[in-house]
Subunit: 459 residues, 2 copies
């Protein structure tokens, strides 16, 4: 292991250059204009895997291509097989003007590498690839067979992954899944994540007058769709920060005392947290701590509002329509289908007869929960400790990784979630970055992990 | 008068061509990029006035130029002097995609001329100019001295007009003001408008996190500025359609029984009105008719909403900020300054501590009210009758013409408001048009008006 660690350390500058090249592709899956950039990005990472000695195949789907890259199997050897999941697509970079440097030209400042996708998720799965490179370059046999599964539609709901995995179930059968697509509280708190929030996304639109109306000539005699939208959306969250939809909390698994105690171990400084986010005051569901609110409690968020005139100056109109993008984070054991029904029912109930409501369903994802006592989880905790030099913590995470549920359903195995994103990495925001220290420790953790996992499987 | 009417009729096709040329200028005062188009448009109408034999001068201001064009004074003759007001600036044409033909390329369909500014206001003041042309071309002496005052900032609050009129008070002193910048219920209901609504415009912005946040990582622990905006704005209007701001209605002059009876004379068909506007149901302040609501009652309108991600697909963020453009229509005897204070006070009171509120004051305009019994008003009613062939109605109008109040304050005279816009002319909306019949009758009305006004002044 020492020789591998030495190789990883010595070659880090080259790895960062390679990652920077990978980050040049504006592989924004939400925006149709970037379709060809996604294909080009997939081609680049396939070629890179091939150069590392992996056996690769880029599969086309009705959406973006999926890369499968395997470490060469040694004839006769019976090694444990793990699937490493990642995604090469990224969130939109808008608003561009808030980036300190172009989002698709990676920039290093201190021990940070800035670019869209740096931490979510190119940098994180790249760390696992570099661990494989280290084993091969140092002539050390990999103790596990690995299959990298790297898709291009994670940010838009992984629409074609489940069907792909089903179709290739035999080839992808494995002893477990490893995913680094989430975060750790600090470099001193390496973390294993045991629960995730799910998501329900939708877009609503209220149509009023057939066209924008002069607010002087007609204002007062017709409803204003922007006002109707505000009044409708405003009723979805109550003054105590709870989602005000009947039945919404019915399936929520209450936090146990043990879990709340684990959560209280995490570093948290309200003043620093407020400063990090730049908010004047925190806000959330009464009766829960900030860490609980953002990882273990469901939410209703407005992601975008659009109505009427948004240019310079004023325009005295009653706008013809108003729309909103919404996402609800859900927690174990809420079901996205059921929650979506409850939301739509409440929206239709609240919508006044003066406007026409259209609801467009977006993506959905189940929450995830697994007990952290298993042998693989314990092996992962040891790998974290070796690589980071600190006792790892157990985490619930607020984001969604819908693929975790898909892989569990189809392949019947749980996932080890070993995130490398720091709290100030700005995923989904301008000036996204990855910490080069987290990247370096992530590569070491990956190298240790295969050893630890092989040990327990051998027993 | 017959020879003048004949000339107007025979030359109408040429007048429409000239008006179409005037409508080619995208003289959008709200958008800085159109600054040079405004100058070019002002130059065009000045040149046109000169060609009609008017004595013109284009005055520069800190904003857009103001045109003063006078009919030549006859030495020794003591004629009554009237000021004709108009504006060559127009509303933004957005959203462009809803126009059936380009907004700045006038298109005739049947008896309609489509273009941004066709009815608001280029077509309306152009009708008055053509009446002057008719008098001169027919060799009939104009019974009044006229001064056309045509500005370029009406759609952004006429910021430099009042100072200009003050400075040129001596030259502009007159017996009355004539303004055609509003509407009539139908060609069978020519109208004199005796009251107008005023306006208070403002823009508010709520700032939350310093940047867009990943809604999975942070959602639940911070307020969502878009949700805060919806909850704030939603509280500005109650379920009975009233503006929910303490003190807002205190100065509202109640509608008299006579006024309500006048208003009930106006043509109104709820089914047709709903169809015209394209709304599923009407909505407004309880206890008032649709015509009362849109002309004699104050309102709160959201003109635009902006927050977060508005592109294709979804983006799972807590947006950093949310903003809204608002206008409040006010009625006699509300004062814009006082109403603005009440609004701002309520917004600050309702704003939660979790976001930072910024209020940017927009333009304001007083409401207007004048009794329709005076001699000039009666003369105008006779001119309307002669030109349209129908008994005129008395109107309160829902739009603002702030200049009416400014001219009254500075010059001490009332305004005759003789609108030529039909209810389906779409001012401020896509596919704005002017009815060529209204344009033709407007020219005749203008020709009659100077005769009628000269008669009463002579008495």
């Amino acid at each position: 292991m020492q020789v591998i660690e030495k190789f990883l350390k010595e070659n880090e500058p080259r790895f960062v250059r390679e990652l920077s090249e990978y980050l040049r592709f504006p592989s924004v899956s939400a925006q149709p204009k970037h379709r060809s950039d996604l294909t080009a990005c997939a081609g680049w990472i396939e070629k890179h895997c091939r150069q590392l000695g992996l056996q690769t195949r880029l599969w086309s789907t009705p959406g973006n291509p999926i890369l499968v890259a395997k470490t060469p199997r040694v004839a006769g050897a019976r090694k444990p097989h793990f699937l490493v999941y990642g995604h090469y697509d990224v969130q939109p970079a808008e608003p561009f003007e808030l980036w300190k440097s172009p989002p698709f030209e990676a920039r290093i400042e201190g021990r940070s590498l800035f670019a869209r996708g740096a931490t979510d998720n190119k940098g994180q799965h790249f760390a696992h690839l570099k661990a494989v490179e280290a084993y091969r370059a140092c002539g050390v046999e990999l103790p596990c067979d690995l299959t990298f599964l790297i898709e291009g539609e994670e940010e838009v709901g992984s629409n074609h992954l489940a069907a792909f995995v089903k179709k290739h179930r035999a080839e992808l059968r494995c002893d477990g899944v490893v995913i680094s697509d989430n975060s750790l509280p600090s470099l001193k708190h390496p973390a294993l994540t045991y629960a995730l929030r799910g998501i329900v996304a939708l877009e609503i639109r209220l149509d009023g007058p057939a066209r924008d109306l002069h607010s002087g000539l007609f204002g007062g005699a017709v409803d204003n769709p922007a006002m109707a939208l505000c009044q409708l959306l405003g009723k979805l969250r109550d003054a105590r920060g709870r989602v005000a939809i009947p039945g919404f909390y019915y399936d929520v698994r209450p936090l146990s005392t043990y879990e709340r105690r684990q959560m209280a171990r995490l570093p948290y400084d309200e003043r620093k947290f407020k400063k990090l986010l730049g908010v004047p005051e925190l806000f959330g569901e009464h009766g829960f701590t900030a860490n609980e609110r953002r990882s273990a409690r469901p939410t209703c968020e407005i992601n975008g509002l659009t109505s009427g005139y948004q240019g310079d100056g004023s325009k005295t109109i009653v706008p013809s329509w108003a729309s909103a993008k919404l996402t609800f984070r859900i927690v174990p054991n809420q079901k996205p289908e059921k929650i979506r029904e409850l939301i739509e029912k409440q929206l239709r109930k609240l919508c006044p007869p003066t406007v026409r409501l259209t609801i467009e369903a977006g993506h959905g994802g189940d929450p995830y929960f697994v007990s952290p006592d298993g042998a693989q989880a314990q092996a992962a905790l040891r790998a974290l400790k070796s690589a980071f030099g600190h006792a790892p913590v157990l985490l619930r995470e607020g984001g969604s990784i819908p693929v975790v549920n898909d892989l569990k359903k189809i392949l019947g195995v749980d996932a080890l979630m070993l995130g490398l994103a720091l709290p100030d990495d700005n995923p989904h925001s301008p000036n996204e970055k990855i910490s080069l220290d987290a990247f370096a420790k992530g590569m070491r953790m990956s190298a240790h992990l295969w050893q630890e996992l092989a040990n327990i499987t051998r027993k």
